[in-house]
Symmetry: C2
Subunit: 110 residues, 2 copies
């Protein structure tokens, strides 16, 4: 498989890329988070997902508080090199509400 | 299932939300695109995915040029109401490169 390294990524104006997180065990899309370069460096080095919290403006080592760690199995990059897809083994719930996935509601009227 | 309508969505500073697109037939994550309110109104009305092209700054009715339409099966909203997950039947390739999914490369060194 062709590889793209961190220097090849296209960050947005805030220095971030969106990270789509998918459960590698059942294919469910669990959440979308954001990462800066340091977050991806730590993700690569530690084997678990580390994000950038836009609300707290700090690194967010997913699971440090909740225990709901995400161990990545595969990290993919899209054609424009501005989106990451992380295929993970999810411990517990991905969502802070306690739901396993953040996508537990429908778009209105559908 | 609980519903969130368009008035309940949280748009970013540009009036957009990211849309994660998943193949409902095999679970593959196909792409990430962006939508404004009009794009989602048309998506809901037409039964196929309509996005906002940030590069062209215009509505992007996916497949009008390529023929690679996306017929949605389910539209979901995340816990923060600022991300959409579209589960679609994909005609042909989702990616403009001709690959079925935009996520055909690995993140460097992995």
């Amino acid at each position: 498989m062709e590889r793209v390294d961190l220097d090849g990524l296209r960050w947005n104006d805030a220095g971030l890329v969106p990270v789509v997180v998918q459960d590698v065990e059942n294919g469910d899309v669990l959440m979308l988070a954001w990462a800066n370069r340091e977050a991806l460096e730590r993700t690569l080095a530690e084997g678990r997902m580390v994000y950038w919290s836009r609300s707290r403006q700090e690194l967010w080592r997913k699971g440090d508080t909740s225990g709901h760690l995400q161990h990545w199995d595969e990290l993919l990059v899209d054609c424009d090199a501005d989106v990451i897809l992380a295929r993970v083994h999810q411990e517990g719930a991905a969502c802070h509400t306690g739901e396993r996935t953040c996508f537990f509601r429908g778009l209105g009227g559908v």
